[in-house]
Amino acid sequence: MDSIYRSHILEHARHPHNFGILADATHTARLANPTCGDACTIYLKIENDVIVDAKWDGHGCALSTAASSLLTEHLTQKPGLSRASGTMQLSPRHGGGGGGFTSETEFLKLLGIEPTSGRLDCALLPLRAYHAAIK
C-alpha cells in the first residue's frame, strides 16, 4: 500500500499555500466534516467568470490541509481558469452540468495520491467547498 503521506503532501501540510482570508472575495463557502472536526472555507475572486484569486482557511488533518493548499495553488497558478472549465467542473449533484465523479477523480490526480475510502472525505473537503462557493 502506497502511503498517502508523500513528500509533496507533507510539504503542503506543513506549509500550506494561500492560507488566509481573501478580503475582496466574490464567492465563498465553508464546509465541515462533523465526524472529524475538519473545516475549510474557500474564498474566490471571480471577474467575468474567470477566477483571478483564491485563498482558503480552516483547520483539519494533514490531508485536508494539503488538499486545500493544492486546490488553491491550482486555481491561482492557472491564470484565467474559467470557473466552469478544466478539472474544476461542477458536478451535477452540486448544481453544475459536467464533471460528476470525474471531477473528483481529476482532483485526486491533482493531489497525486489514492486515499482509502475512509479518507476520501478529508481529501475532497476543499473541492466540495469550492463547488459550494461557485454554485
Partner: protein, 407 residues
C-alpha cells in the same frame, strides 16, 4: 509468561486464524469488533455442513438437531450471564435490541415523563430513546461524568425522581473505558419505579456478567464484540417485565395462534424472536462463551489489566498525550482513548494503519460525549484476549513515527 487458564498468550494467539493470515497485524480495535477463535468458526461451519435447517419448524432429523443446538445455545448463553433461558432472546445485535426495547416501552410514556441516560451512551442506546421521548412528549435527561471520567452516584440519585420511567445506562463506556456501578444504579432507579436498561456490549467481553447481581430489567450485548460472529445480539429481559411487553417485531415463529381476528403471542423468549433467527451465529456465540469460560475470568481480567496498565504507562511515557478516561485501574477496562497534541486523529490512524497497527479514531458513535471533550474526535486503542506487549510497543513506536512524519 502470562498464562490464561493454563495456556500461554502464544497458545491464545494460535486460536485466532486472523493472526496466522495477517502476521503483521497489531490489532487494537477489539472494542469495534473482536476476532473469532477457530472453535467459534468450527461450530458455525459444523451447523452449515452437517445439520443446516430452520429451527422450531421441521420434523426431520436435521431440523431436530438444529432446534436442539439453537436451544442449547440459548441455555448456555443464559448461564453465561446468570439468566434463565426464557429471559434470553437473540436479535441481530445490541442496536436492534435497544430499538426493540424502545419500541415496546415507548407506549408507556406520558408527556412530562423522563428518560434518564448517562453522558457515556452510544448512539445505539441514545437515539431510539430520544426518538420515543419526542414521540410521547417525554424528556431525556443526561447524568454527566465527572472530571475523572466517572459517573457520580450522588448526582445520579439527585436526578432520579418519580417521573423517571426509564434509565438507559452503559455498563462500560466504549470511549472512556469506565466501568459504571450498575448494581447501585439499578437499586436507586428501582426506588423510583424506573425500568433500567443496561448496554453491556463493551462489558461482556472483559468482565464476568451476572444480570441477577445487577438486578437490571433488560441487558443487551453483541456477539461480535465477545469473540463471536457478527449479526447476533443477546437481549435479556427480566421475566416479570417480559410478561408485560407486547412484541414490536412481528412475524413467523413468535405466535401461538393467528386467526383472521386474533393473534396470540408465544411466551418469552420466542415472542421476541420474529422470523428465522441467525442460527449459526447463535451457535457460534455459544461456542464463544465456552471459549471465554475455558480461559477463566480471573485469568482474563488479570491479563487484560496488565496490558491496560502497560498501554496507559506507554502512552503517558510519550509526555504530552492526553488520556481521555480514568487513569486509575479500578473500574476501568482496556478501552483507552487519547489525543496526541499536533496530530490529527485521522492522520495518526492512517499512519499507524500503514504500519499494521489497527486503532479507531473519531467520535466512536458517542458524539455528544466525544465532541464535548475534543471536537475533532479521539484516537482509541482497545485490547482483547490476544493483545500482546509487542502490539502495545508497536502502537507507542507508531505514534512516535507519526509525529516525526508530520512534524
Amino acid at each position: 509468561m502470562e498464562m490464561l487458564g493454563g495456556r500461554t498468550i502464544e497458545d491464545i494467539r494460535r486460536d485466532f486464524p486472523i493472526f496466522r493470515n495477517r502476521p503483521n497485524l497489531a490489532y487494537l480495535d477489539t472494542a469495534a469488533t473482536s476476532h473469532m477463535p477457530s472453535v467459534v468458526l468450527e461450530a458455525m461451519v459444523d451447523f452449515e455442513v452437517n445439520y443446516r435447517a430452520n429451527v422450531h419448524r421441521g420434523l426431520y432429523p436435521e431440523a431436530e438437531l438444529a432446534t436442539n443446538a439453537y436451544e442449547s445455545a440459548r441455555a448456555e448463553v443464559a448461564a453465561f450471564i446468570a439468566a434463565e433461558p426464557a429471559e434470553v432472546s437473540f436479535t441481530s445485535g445490541s442496536t436492534a435490541s435497544l430499538q426493540m426495547l424502545a419500541a415496546m416501552l415507548g407506549p408507556r410514556l406520558k408527556p412530562g415523563d423522563n428518560i434518564l441516560v448517562s453522558s457515556m451512551e452510544h448512539h445505539s442506546a441514545l437515539l431510539p430513546f430520544k426518538q420515543i421521548a419526542v414521540e410521547r412528549g417525554a424528556m431525556v435527561t443526561t447524568v454527566q461524568h465527572d472530571a475523572d471520567y466517572r459517573l457520580d452516584l450522588t448526582t445520579f440519585q439527585l436526578m432520579l425522581n418519580n417521573r423517571t420511567k426509564i434509565v438507559v445506562i452503559t455498563a462500560v463506556s466504549n470511549v472512556l473505558g469506565t466501568v459504571n456501578p450498575i448494581a447501585d444504579i439499578v437499586q436507586e432507579a428501582h426506588k423510583h419505579g424506573a425500568i433500567v436498561i443496561v448496554d453491556a456490549a463493551q462489558y461482556i467481553p472483559h468482565l464476568a456478567l451476572s444480570v441477577k447481581e445487577w438486578g437490571a430489567d433488560a441487558v443487551v450485548s453483541s456477539a461480535h464484540k465477545m469473540y463471536g460472529p457478527l449479526g447476533v445480539g443477546v437481549l435479556y429481559i427480566e421475566k416479570s417485565l417480559g410478561l408485560t411487553l407486547t412484541p414490536s417485531n412481528l412475524g413467523g415463529g413468535m405466535m401461538l395462534e393467528v386467526t383472521s381476528s386474533i393473534t396470540t403471542f408465544a411466551e418469552a423468549p420466542h415472542k421476541f424472536e420474529s422470523g428465522t433467527p441467525n442460527i449459526p451465529g447463535v451457535i457460534g456465540l455459544a461456542a464463544a462463551t465456552r471459549y471465554l469460560s475455558s480461559l477463566g475470568w480471573s485469568n482474563i481480567i488479570a491479563r487484560e489489566e496488565a496490558m491496560t496498565r502497560l498501554l496507559i504507562v506507554g502512552l503517558l511515557s510519550l509526555g504530552d498525550i492526553a488520556i481521555i478516561g480514568p487513569l486509575t485501574m479500578d473500574n476501568r477496562i482496556g478501552v483507552i482513548s487519547f489525543t496526541v497534541p499536533g496530530l490529527h486523529p485521522h492522520d495518526l490512524a492512517t499512519i499507524l494503519g500503514e504500519q499494521g497497527v489497527a486503532i479507531r479514531v473519531g467520535h466512536h458513535c458517542a458524539m455528544p460525549l466525544v465532541s464535548s471533550i475534543v471536537p475533532g474526535g479521539v484516537a482509541r486503542a482497545s485490547l482483547g484476549l490476544y493483545t500482546t506487549e509487542e502490539d502495545i510497543s508497536r502502537l507507542i513506536q507508531g505514534i512516535k513515527f507519526a509525529r516525526q512524519t508530520l512534524s
